[in-house]
Symmetry: C2
Subunit: 95 residues, 2 copies
């Protein structure tokens, strides 16, 4: 079933679901900067707003609505929602 | 800030936010059929899965991920998530 998740005192919230055996979440990131670690690899699709993202060991890059980035398993990323909240779809690529 | 909403005993859940003065939500609809009424007009973008939708007075139509439909103000729609949960972005077009 659906599961509500809240991180960083509610600054990042998501709803988890599973479809055809694959786990995914949709969520919103309030304006600010956050760090997330990954277990499984993840594919993030920005659905509204603008995210700035720095993968572990990389540089900051902009991902506006409609763009996609992936994060390796057992890694992490810093993320900033710019000029207001941004929404995303996160698909988990492994178990 | 972000606001978690739950409808139909948790079968539909969303996270509301506001960006540039426009209200929006991202959410997930569990498999099943639901009815929603509108206040402001809404633009729904399906971001994962498949929704079947019947606008008030209309016929059932399929909206797979990547497609968009709009609902008039002070109207409503029936919606089915087909073969598992579906995710959406809902943008409110008026106040």
């Amino acid at each position: 079933m659906l599961k509500h998740n809240s991180y960083f005192d509610g600054g990042v919230q998501s709803i988890g679901f599973e479809r055809n055996g694959l786990r995914a979440t949709v969520g919103v990131i309030a304006a600010g900067e956050y760090h997330f670690g990954t277990g499984a690899a993840e594919r993030m699709t920005v659905t509204s707003g603008l995210l700035r993202v720095r993968l572990t060991g990389g540089d900051w890059q902009n991902y506006p609505a409609g763009t996609v980035f992936e994060i390796a398993a057992n890694s992490g990323f810093d993320v900033q929602a710019v000029s207001g909240p941004a929404a995303y779809l996160c698909e988990f690529l492994g178990n």
